[in-house]
């Protein structure tokens, strides 16, 4: 029998992998992928707990909201990354260290 603790541990592991990706990578796009991993871990929790709320289906509804929010955030973040690449010719966040003027 798969209990809620199984899902919690799995999503905790995914969250920590996302944390590692965010901290260790030197590329803005890979950091974005790490953020998406962490968001997916949270969505997995929402869905797993939403199973126990049939009448309001709150977990699944907010999982949908989180997916839409992630899509919006990714679109804006990638536009920013492209702009940064155009100006600095690098997307390593550690080397973008000057303002516009």
């Amino acid at each position: 029998m798969i209990t809620l603790t199984h899902y919690l541990v799995l999503s905790g592991a995914l969250f920590c992998i996302g944390l590692y990706v965010i901290l260790a990578k030197q590329n803005a796009v890979q950091i974005l992928i790490g953020v998406e991993l962490m968001l997916n871990a949270a969505i997995l929790n929402l869905v797993a707990f939403g199973r126990f709320d049939k009448l309001n289906s709150s977990g699944q509804t907010f999982a949908l909201f989180a997916i839409v929010l992630a899509a919006a955030a990714t679109a804006v973040a990638l536009a920013i990354v492209l702009n940064v690449y155009r100006r600095y010719k690098t997307i390593d966040p550690g080397r973008i260290n000057e303002l516009k003027d």
Binding site: M1, T3, T5, H6, Y7, L8, V9, L10, G12, A13, L14, F15, C16, I17, G18, L19, Y20, V21, L23, A24, Q26, N27, V29, I33, E36, L37, N40, I43, L44, V47, A48, G50, R51, F52, K54, L55, N56, S58, G59, Q60, T61, A63, L64, F65, I67, V68, A70, A71, A72, A73, T74, A75, V76, L78, A79, L82, Y85, R86, I91, D92
Partner: protein, 183 residues
């Protein structure tokens, strides 16, 4: 029951393995394509949680939208990006990633401790919902409930998120215009 257990462990292993590959891989394009696999495995896990609509949305929005967007960003930002990255990764690989690795592992240990101590399977609201038969079973159709709730209980967040989506769309289009066209 046993098939569900087997499927859970299979999906969990695929998701964790591909996520670890994303974390460990130095090749950018390869890690993006492994992220595809992670998202598909997570969609399978959502199906195991009896959330079929969320799983379909995951496949459509994440795999069809976000990952294609990320790949577009790669292809638009040129080959210098990839070659520059490969030069960087050659030096001091182990040492400058050790703090990140330690932080992630220690945080995972803390999280697992919290999960085991919380004993969430016997939480009061969960046993209450089991007693009231408020649990989604395999034969239930959940899409009806989501649709009705989206238009009644959650109408305000729904509208707020639609405005936010429009704002993000306009903002992304504004950000990615060519330099100099702006006034």
């Amino acid at each position: 029951m046993t098939l569900i257990t087997v499927m859970f462990y299979l999906m969990a292993a695929i998701a964790l393995g591909s996520a670890l590959y994303v974390a460990a891989s130095k090749n950018l394009v390869r890690s993006v394509f492994m992220f595809f696999v992670t998202l598909f495995a997570l969609a399978g896990l959502y199906v195991l949680c009896l959330a079929d609509f969320v799983a379909i949305t995951q496949v459509v929005v994440y795999v069809g939208g976000i990952l294609v967007l990320i790949l577009f960003a790669f292809m638009l930002s040129g080959r210098e990006l990839l070659s520059g990255l490969q030069q960087q990764t050659n030096r001091l690989i182990a040492i400058n990633k050790l703090p990140a690795l330690m932080l992630a592992v220690l945080f995972f240990i803390v999280l697992v401790n919290v999960f085991l101590k919380a004993n969430i399977d016997n939480a009061s609201w969960i046993s209450q919902s089991i007693a009231q038969k408020n649990v989604i079973t395999v034969t239930d159709v959940t899409v009806n409930g989501i649709g009705v709730n989206l238009m009644t209980n959650y109408l305000l967040p729904f509208e707020a998120i639609s405005i936010l989506l429009l704002m993000a769309l306009v903002g992304a289009a504004h950000l990615s215009r060519k330099e100099g066209e702006a006034a």
